[in-house]
């Protein structure tokens, strides 16, 4: 039988003795190559420097870098219970990126604190990071007890203070062990100098760590990586591909894709060079075909209809750590990546920055600097699906990309805007109850040679006429290109569907409510028109970011493009196409073809 294997990481402030403890662990458990210990002792004697256990680790690494089999970033050792892989996590602040890269792969962690120096900046920082990385099994090693005369008082003081800190960052039930790496107390051998210590040794503690509960019993979450259709190779299967993060699914299960809420049934689980697969469990890179073909794209989150649904929204409350050279600031655009979703976002508010260099964790600040941890609100440009960390940590994790670099990571704690959330729930309800005909969205796309979309034409109120002329021109142009297109004028609505909406120009509040309801109705009609396979053109004057966002939310993830008509953009909207000179109609219309292709609404849409 295969022995159980576990990834562990040693973290802690620089010089607090991580390497010494690891070296001691390797030596005392007999995990070193034969003669290694003596060889290093001899080398130390020759160079008349005192032998240190930390040299063992360096020596192993040197040897590895000279081209022999073991991995320099990982050290292997065995206890009687199982095999361990120690991931090297440098304690120096510049190496925080490497520490996170290593620690994110660990199942449990040791945090080493120097008994003499006490809790330092990186002790706390590493504590935060372990907590945020979702490592729940943490043991604090209070090292160098020999330097404080094995004092129980010193030990207790550190335990008391550090426990309080760990609790404040939601790391509960953390165990402590007093050790001396140099003298070998309580690492592998029980200490005779600390008779007051009745607890476990480092190795005993290590063997007590449990393997994480298998993820396959949790709700199904499969972020869609891509839709494969290799027709060029004579393969007509349409395969929804992804890695199953959590849960289990079987052939025949009904699945629902968020945030759109579209659903279908798993027809077959696809694989290459295997027996027929009928069930997939968490961790597996997989793919399946579906009974009913629905339009999907990368970023959708596949879930089972009979299990807890994820959250959808675009205003997030998060905790994050920042690694970027430039600070995280408001007014700058970043990308948020979670699962296979990538979405533009902005920092909307910093609630607090936690300062690792002091115990004070309530600092008000305008930006988050490199290596800091903060609670923030993020505004995403479109609605996405995710989980909250308290529900399902795996799918609550995200990274932030600044320019070309991954500059931070974090966990989603809450969805901010309740109105958004409410709409989101309604939307999913609608999608669930939506009656589909036999003709599918994909059938229509193929037949019409277009990917349906809502095209919002907007501009300043003074430019209302120009915007109307442009919208009509666009309809005519697309129609002449043999596209299925419809322009809905405002007046057509005012005296029909919107006849019950009485505007009172004197009541500002009433006017806003009417506008919101008007927009909601337009969104609902758009949803139908898009389902019918159309390019649906609507003109709304003075559309702003929030309204655009609301329409996007109500549409689900269906495609939507905005065109601003007029020289100056007078709201906070960022249009997909800006018509600065509406009078040059011919010039604009000549571009429609290529712009629609660029938007991937026409042309090669397979």
């Amino acid at each position: 039988m295969q022995r159980e294997q576990m990834n562990i990481v040693f973290t802690g402030h620089v010089d607090h003795g991580k390497s010494t403890v690891v070296g001691r662990l390797l030596a005392d458990t007999g995990s070193l190559p034969e003669g290694k210990l003596d060889q290093i002792r001899r080398e130390c004697e020759r160079n008349s420097k005192p032998f240190e256990y930390a040299f063992l680790l360096d020596a192993l690494k040197d040897e590895q870098s000279q081209g022999i089999t073991i991995d320099a970033a990982r050290v292997f050792f065995k206890s009687s219970a199982r095999d361990y892989i120690i991931i090297d996590a440098p304690g120096h602040i510049e190496f925080l990126k490497n520490m996170i890269t290593g620690a994110a792969r660990a199942e449990c962690a040791f945090l080493v604190i120097d008994a003499e120096e006490g809790i330092q900046e990186n002790s706390r920082r590493h504590g935060y990071l372990l907590s945020m990385l979702g490592i729940r099994q943490v043991c604090v090693v209070v090292n160098k007890m020999d330097l404080v005369d094995y004092s129980q008082q010193v030990y207790n003081r550190i335990v008391r203070r550090f426990t309080r800190f760990l609790k404040s960052i939601n790391l509960n039930d953390v165990e402590f062990v007093p050790v001396s790496g140099r003298e070998g107390d309580n690492v592998f051998h029980r200490s005779s100098s600390m008779s007051w210590w009745k607890g476990a040794t480092v190795l005993e503690r290590l063997d007590c760590f449990r393997k994480a509960e298998p993820l396959d019993r949790m709700p199904m979450r499969m972020p869609v990586t891509d839709i494969y259709k290799f027709t060029n190779y004579g393969d007509s299967r349409r395969i929804i591909a992804g890695t199953l993060e959590t849960g289990t699914f079987r052939q025949g299960d009904e699945v629902i894709f968020y945030p759109s809420g579209k659903k279908s049934r798993i027809k077959a689980i696809e694989s290459f060079n295997t027996d027929t697969v009928t069930e997939v469990k968490a961790g597996r890179a997989t793919g399946f075909t579906m009974d009913e073909q629905i339009y999907l794209s990368r970023g959708a989150l596949a879930c089972r209809v009979d299990q807890m649904p994820p959250k959808v929204g675009n205003q997030l409350q998060v905790s994050l750590f920042w690694l970027g050279r430039e600070p995280l600031v408001q007014g700058k655009e970043y990308f948020l990546k979670t699962g296979t979703t990538k979405v533009r976002c902005q920092l909307s508010e910093i609630n607090k920055v936690i300062d690792a260099s002091s115990l004070d964790s309530e600092v008000r600040r305008e930006s988050v600097e490199r290596h800091e941890v903060a609670d923030c609100s993020l505004a995403l440009q479109k609605t996405i699906a995710f989980d909250l960390v308290m529900d399902l940590p795996q799918t609550s994790r995200f990274v932030l990309v600044d320019e070309y670099e991954i500059a931070g990571g974090g966990i989603i704690r809450d969805v901010d805007d309740h109105r958004q959330h409410e709409f989101g729930e309604k939307l999913i309800r609608r999608q669930l109850e939506w009656e589909n005909g036999i003709v599918t969205e994909l059938d229509r796309m193929e037949q019409y040679g277009q990917r349906p979309a809502l095209i919002l034409v907007t501009g300043h109120e003074d430019q209302a006429e120009a915007a109307k002329i442009f919208a009509e021109g666009l309809e005519k142009k697309l129609f002449s290109l043999k596209k299925n297109v419809y322009y809905l004028g405002y007046r057509s609505l005012k005296y029909g569907l919107d006849a019950d909406l009485k505007n009172d120009p004197l009541l500002q509040k009433r006017r806003m409510a009417v506008r919101e309801e008007h927009i909601r109705r337009i969104s609902e009609i758009s949803h139908i028109m898009i389902d019918a396979g159309m390019f649906f053109i609507v003109k709304i004057d003075g559309l702003d970011y929030e309204e655009r966002d609301l329409i996007q939310l109500l549409l689900g993830t269906s495609r939507m493009k905005t065109i601003w008509v007029g020289k100056d953009i007078t709201t906070d909207i960022v249009p997909d196409w800006h018509i600065r000179r509406p009078e040059n109609m011919d010039e604009h219309m000549a571009k429609v073809d290529s712009i629609m292709e660029e938007w991937e609404l026409m042309g090669d849409i397979s």
């Binding site: 295969q2 590895q64 870098s65 000279q66 081209g67 022999i68 089999t69 073991i70 991995d71 320099a72 970033a73 990982r74 990126k97 490497n98 996170i100 890269t101 994110a104 792969r105 990385l133 990586t225 891509d226 494969y228 290799f230 190779y233 393969d235 299967r237 395969i239 591909a241 890695t243 696809e270 694989s271 290459f272 060079n273 469990k281 961790g283 597996r284 890179a285 793919g287 990368r298 690694l323 990308f335 990546k337 296979t340 994790r397 995200f398 990274v399 990309v401 320019e403 070309y404 670099e405 991954i406 990571g409």
Partner: protein
């Protein structure tokens, strides 16, 4: 899931992420066991198809069986096969076998230089035309911005410091000291113009894992890996003049696995049969910094 399933799933995930994120993607296929396993993972990821070019750097000193094997699989598996070479150095006979260069220079010219200029599209690429059944000048001269490479972390020191998605700057240079963070299966898929990203789906595999997987999946391999009566076999394949076999009785895949499990080679580097490594001070640091895989 057993260990091989896990390694396979990690590899497939990485290949799919690469395919979704890089428009100009290619996979380096050295014909050796590792990159052939990687090619197999691509067929796993994309259901029997390989939707991006496979690039081989032909030094023209490869052991002949390797080229035969390459073209046989290209036909059988309908692979989009491309090769590149350093025509100038070959014509000028600036090579080690011709006696006009030391091993490292030869490696740099025929491999690193050829690789760099094939990837960036400056030199001619030859693509296999499945209709005419021969290699023709490839009309695609665009730079590959995502390059999938079959290195493993346990092979030697410098490779153990790699990430799954590892950026290279405009000069092909790898900044070992300042690498992107990589966690939660989020990778560096954004890159500045002119730079490219190397993608490593096999980073976590060991030599034994490779052979176990070849056995499980029944992946065809070059016979040079097996002892065919001489008491020797190749453990790592390269150019004929600089590659030496090791002493071994292993005649097939399962015997190789058994041999590796005995720990016979645990203190002998896998690439010890590759003479250029020794000339590079034991590591590959210099060559790799210059763009060697």
């Amino acid at each position: 899931m057993d260990q091989l399933d896990e390694l396979e799933s990690i590899g497939v995930r990485i290949l799919r992420e690469a395919y979704s994120n890089f428009k100009n993607l290619c996979m380096l296929w050295s014909i050796g066991k590792d990159s052939t396993v990687m090619l197999w993972l691509a067929r796993k990821a994309f259901y029997g198809h390989v939707p991006f070019p496979l690039v081989h750097i032909d030094t023209h000193y490869k052991i002949p069986e390797m080229i035969e094997y390459r073209d046989r699989l290209t036909r059988e598996w309908n692979l989009p096969m491309v090769y590149g070479e350093n025509t100038e150095a070959l014509e000028a006979k600036q090579t080690f076998p011709d006696g006009n260069a030391d091993r490292l220079t030869c490696c740099r010219l025929l491999k690193a230089e050829a690789l760099k200029n094939t990837l960036n599209g400056n030199w001619t690429r030859y693509r296999f035309n499945h209709n005419s059944d021969r290699y023709e000048v490839d009309r695609d001269t665009e730079m590959y911005t995502g390059v999938i490479v079959g290195v493993r972390a346990d092979e030697e020191g410098s490779r153990s410091k790699e990430r799954y998605f590892s950026p290279r700057d405009k000069e092909n240079i790898w900044d070992v000291g300042d690498q992107p963070p990589e966690f939660w299966n989020q990778f560096k898929t954004d890159f500045a113009p002119g730079t490219h990203v190397r993608i490593h789906p096999l980073l976590d595999w060991t030599e034994t894992n490779i052979w176990e997987y070849i056995e499980r999946e029944k992946i065809p391999t070059v016979s040079l890996y097996y002892n065919q009566g001489s008491g020797e076999r190749y453990r790592s394949l390269g150019c004929a003049p600089c590659t030496n076999p090791v002493q071994s009785d292993a005649r097939n895949v399962s015997e190789i696995i058994a041999e590796l499990r005995t720990g016979k080679f645990s203190n002998i580097a896998e690439r010890s049969g590759r003479a250029q490594d020794k000339d590079d001070g034991g590591g590959l640091e210099t060559l790799r910094r210059d763009g060697y895989m």
